[in-house]
C-alpha cells in the first residue's frame, strides 16, 4: 500500500469534495475545498445571466435567513440565491438591542430548529455566535458574518471575481486596505487567498491593524504607497462611521489623505490592477468615485453578481446530504 502524496487531491467525488456540515468560516477549509465551491459557483453565474433564472433543486426546503445584525445587501443576496434554487425563503430580522442577547440567541436557535429549517443563514454581531448556533441545531448553518471573525461567502465571491478576471489566484499580489482590525471580510479573505497561494499584503493605520496579523501569512504595511506597489488586486475595506470620529483615526479627511484609494495612488499598482470593495462604499473617504466607477479596473458590481452565484453554490452543496444527492447522502 502506498500513501498518495498528490496535491491537490485528485479524483475526489461526492461528499469527499466538501465533507463539511456547515460553512462557519474559511478557516478549516482545504484549498481544494475552496476551489470546489468556486467551481460549483460558475454554473450559477451562467444561469443568473439568462432570462429565466430558475432551478428547482431546493424545492420544498426551507431556508431561514436569521439576521441578528442589520444588513441589506447580504440578506438580499441570500434571499435571491435561495429563491433562484426554489427554496422557501424566510427572513428573520432579530432586533438585537431589545432583549438579553445571549439567552435569546440560544433560544432562537432552538426555535428555528424546532421549525425544521433545512438550512439556516446567520449574521450576528458577536464573533463565534454562528458556531455556537451551529453546535445546537440539526441542519446546516451558513455564516453570513459573525462579529469581526469571518464572512466566508464574501471571501468566496471575492476569490471567484479575481479568478474570473485574472484567470488564477496563485501568485497574484493582493493588497487588502483599510480597517483590518474590525473586518470579518478581511479575515476570511486572508484565509482564502493565502490558501489559494496568493501573496497577500495588508495595509492599515497602526490603530486599525490587528495584532500579530503577520502570523496569518500576510505582510503588513502602514504606508499605503509602499503596500500597493505592484499589486494585481487592490481590495478596499469599508470604514465604519463610528470609527471615524477620533477613536481610531483623527478624521475622515486625514484617513482619505493617507489611506484613500485615489487614481494617483492606484498608479503604483500593476497597470491592470483590479479594484474591489465589499460595499457599501464611503465614496471620497476610502475610495474615490473615479476609481470605484472605472469601467475597466473596478470589479465592484461584478462582486455583487458573483455573490449571488457563490451563495447559490453554498446552499446547493450544504443541502446535498439532506436532499439525498448521490454520493452525498
Amino acid at each position: 500500500m502506498s500513501i498518495s502524496t498528490s496535491f491537490p487531491p485528485t479524483g475526489l467525488t461526492g461528499a469527499a469534495q466538501f465533507p463539511h456540515r456547515h460553512l462557519t468560516g474559511i478557516s478549516g477549509l482545504q484549498p481544494h475545498e475552496i476551489a470546489f465551491l468556486l467551481d460549483e459557483a460558475e454554473q450559477w453565474v451562467d444561469l443568473n445571466r439568462r432570462a429565466s433564472k430558475h432551478d428547482d433543486r431546493l424545492a420544498g426546503l426551507t431556508l431561514i435567513n436569521a439576521f441578528f445584525e442589520n444588513s441589506t445587501r447580504t440578506l438580499l443576496s441570500f434571499e435571491i440565491a435561495g429563491k433562484r434554487l426554489g427554496a422557501d425563503v424566510v427572513n428573520m430580522h432579530a432586533a438585537q438591542s431589545s432583549v438579553k442577547k445571549g439567552e435569546t440567541l440560544i433560544d432562537t436557535a432552538m426555535t428555528l430548529n424546532a421549525m425544521r429549517a433545512d438550512i439556516i443563514v446567520i449574521r450576528h454581531s458577536s464573533s463565534g455566535a454562528v458556531q455556537l448556533i451551529a453546535d445546537k441545531v440539526d441542519c446546516p448553518v451558513l455564516n453570513a458574518g459573525d462579529g469581526w471573525h469571518e464572512h466566508p461567502t464574501q471571501a468566496l465571491l471575492d476569490a471567484l471575481t479575481i479568478r474570473r478576471r485574472k484567470g488564477r489566484i496563485a501568485n497574484l499580489r493582493v493588497a487588502i486596505c483599510g480597517d483590518l482590525l474590525h473586518s470579518r471580510v478581511a479575515r476570511s479573505n486572508i484565509l482564502a487567498l493565502t490558501a489559494l497561494a496568493a501573496e497577500v499584503r495588508v495595509i492599515a493605520p497602526p490603530t486599525l491593524m490587528p495584532p500579530a496579523i503577520e502570523r496569518m501569512g500576510v505582510t503588513p504595511f502602514t504606508d499605503f504607497d509602499a503596500g500597493i506597489e505592484g499589486a494585481d488586486v487592490v481590495m478596499m475595506l469599508r470604514l465604519q462611521n463610528e470609527r471615524m470620529a477620533g477613536g481610531f483615526i483623527p478624521s475622515p479627511r486625514e484617513y482619505h489623505a493617507l489611506y484613500g484609494l485615489t487614481a494617483e495612488r492606484l498608479e503604483r499598482a500593476a497597470p491592470d490592477a483590479l479594484v474591489m470593495h465589499p460595499g457599501p462604499m464611503n465614496r471620497g473617504i476610502e475610495i474615490d468615485s473615479n476609481v470605484a466607477d472605472d469601467p475597466v479596473r473596478s470589479a465592484i458590481t461584478e462582486q455583487v453578481e458573483m455573490g449571488v452565484a457563490v451563495r447559490m453554490a453554498c446552499l446547493d452543496v450544504l443541502t446535498r446530504r439532506r436532499r439525498g444527492v448521490e454520493g452525498w447522502a
Binding site: 464573533s127 455566535a129 462579529g147 479575515r187 490587528p210 495584532p211
Partner: protein
C-alpha cells in the same frame, strides 16, 4: 442549656489525633487546636483517625473566591475561603461583612474581603476600619482596577496603618477597554477584541509606585505576564511589602485554549501567550509567586453559553485547585512543602491569620490527601454550583480523603 454547655466543654477539651501508620507521624488535636505534631505518644482517651497512608496537610486557605460554594470547597480541601467583595451587593458595609463571615458556619471559614471603594465604583473610600472590626481581613479593589490614581493612593494610605493588605486586580482599564482576550494571533484569528499584555505591567507599575509612597501592603491577586513578574520580583528585592498570586489556569493554559471560542476559557485576566505562561512557571519556581488560588467563580449556562465576548469571565476552580497544584509538584516545578505554603501558609499570613500550618497552637484545620489517586476533570460531574472549568477532560491525580475543621471531621 446545661447539657449544651457540658457538651461544648467536652468538645473543647476532647482529644483527637490523625495518625499515619506508615511513618508513625501524628497530629494531636485538643478541641479546635493542634496540640502536638510528630512522632508523639497518643494519650489513652484520644479518638484516633487512621490516615491510611494519606498525606496530612494543612487545610487550604483560598484567597479570593467569588462565591461561597461549600460542596466545591469540601471536594477541594478548602477550609477557609476569603470572599471577594464582588457580590450582588458589594461588601462595602459592616453588616454585609458580618453576614458574609457567618455564612460558612459550621463547616467552612468564610473570611470576607472588604470593598476598597463604596459600591466598588472606584470613587469613594469604603469604611475599612469598621469593616475590619466586623471581620474583614483585607481590602480589595474587586474584579476591576481602580483607574483613578488619586483614589488608589488614598485607598493604600488609609489601609496602611490599619494593617490591612490591599488586594488588587492589575489591568490598566484604559488599555483593556472592552477587550476579552490578550492581543496576539489567537485573538486576531478569532476576531476578538484584545488588549496588549502590557496592560498588567502598567497597572502593577503604578500601584507599586503608590506602595512606595504609602507603605501599604499590596497583594496582586493574579499576576500572569512576564513583565508583571519582573516588576513584582524587583519590588520584592527592594523590600516592598508586595505579594502576588496566580491560579492554575495561567500556569497550565495559554491563549490558544480559547481557539474554538470556548467560553470556559474566558478568564479575567485573559489567558496569555505561551511565553507568558513560561514566565509564570519560572516565577513559580523562583518564589516570586506567593499564592496559588482557585479564583472560584461558578457560572452557569446563562453566563457561559453565549458568544465569547458576551460570556462572563471566570472559572469554577475550587475542586481542581489541589489536584492541579499536585501536578505542578509532579512536574518538578515546585516541592510539596512549597505547594502547601502557597495553598495555606502564605494566604493565611496575608490575611493575618495564624493558620495554614501544622504546628502546635495552630487551629486544627487539616486535610488528608491521597496524592496519587487518579481522576478526570469532568464539567458534567463537578461538585461546584456550575461546571465551568477550562480543564474539562484533563486527567489529574490527588483527592481529599477527609477534611478536619476545628478538630472536627467534616462529613
Amino acid at each position: 442549656m446545661n447539657n449544651a454547655s457540658t457538651r461544648e466543654g467536652k468538645m473543647a477539651n476532647s482529644l483527637r489525633a490523625v495518625v499515619n501508620g506508615a511513618d508513625g507521624q501524628a497530629v494531636l488535636m485538643r478541641g479546635d487546636t493542634i496540640e502536638a505534631v510528630g512522632a508523639i505518644d497518643i494519650p489513652a482517651d484520644t479518638a484516633v483517625i487512621d490516615a491510611k497512608g494519606a498525606l496530612i496537610a494543612p487545610g487550604i486557605v483560598d484567597l479570593g473566591v467569588f462565591a461561597i460554594d461549600k460542596p466545591a470547597f469540601r471536594a477541594g480541601g478548602i477550609v477557609r475561603a476569603a470572599l471577594m467583595p464582588d457580590q450582588s451587593r458589594p461588601l462595602d458595609d459592616p453588616g454585609l461583612i458580618q453576614r458574609a463571615a457567618d455564612s460558612g458556619k459550621p463547616d467552612l471559614w468564610v473570611h470576607p474581603i472588604a470593598a476598597a471603594t463604596r459600591g466598588l465604583a472606584g470613587l469613594d473610600l469604603a469604611e475599612f476600619a469598621t469593616m475590619r472590626d466586623s471581620g474583614a481581613l483585607a481590602v480589595a479593589t474587586g474584579r476591576d482596577w481602580i483607574a483613578d490614581s488619586g483614589v488608589m493612593h488614598r485607598v493604600l494610605a488609609y489601609a496602611a496603618p490599619l494593617g490591612l493588605t490591599v488586594i488588587v486586580h492589575a489591568e490598566d482599564r484604559g488599555l483593556t477597554g472592552n477587550a476579552v482576550a490578550t492581543a496576539g494571533e489567537t485573538a486576531t484569528r478569532l476576531g476578538l477584541a484584545s488588549a496588549p499584555a502590557v496592560a498588567e505591567a502598567m497597572a502593577i507599575a503604578r500601584d507599586l509606585a503608590l506602595v512606595e509612597q504609602t507603605g501599604a501592603a499590596i497583594h496582586f491577586r493574579q499576576v500572569t505576564t512576564a513583565a508583571g513578574f519582573a516588576l513584582v520580583r524587583a519590588a520584592k528585592a527592594r523590600g516592598l511589602p508586595v505579594t502576588c498570586g496566580i491560579t492554575p489556569a495561567h500556569l497550565y493554559l495559554s491563549d490558544n485554549a480559547v481557539s474554538d471560542f470556548r467560553t470556559f476559557a474566558r478568564l479575567s485576566p485573559p489567558l496569555r501567550a505561551e511565553s507568558d505562561r513560561q514566565a509564570a512557571l519560572a516565577a513559580l519556581a523562583d518564589g516570586t509567586i506567593d499564592i496559588l488560588c482557585s479564583g472560584h467563580d461558578p457560572r452557569g449556562p446563562e453566563d457561559k453559553r453565549l458568544p465569547f465576548a458576551d460570556a462572563a469571565p471566570g472559572m469554577a476552580g475550587a475542586e481542581t485547585l489541589l489536584a492541579l497544584g499536585l501536578g505542578l509538584v509532579r512536574d518538578d516545578h515546585i516541592s510539596l512543602p512549597r505547594l502547601f505554603e502557597m495553598l495555606a501558609a502564605n494566604p493565611a499570613r496575608i490575611l493575618g491569620l495564624e493558620t495554614g500550618i501544622i504546628a502546635a497552637g495552630a487551629p486544627a484545620d487539616l486535610i488528608l490527601v491521597e496524592p496519587d489517586t487518579p481522576w478526570r476533570i469532568d464539567t458534567a460531574r463537578m461538585a461546584a454550583r456550575a461546571g465551568n472549568t477550562p480543564f474539562d477532560g484533563m486527567p489529574v491525580q490527588g483527592r481529599v480523603a477527609l477534611m478536619i475543621k476545628g478538630g472536627q471531621p467534616i462529613g
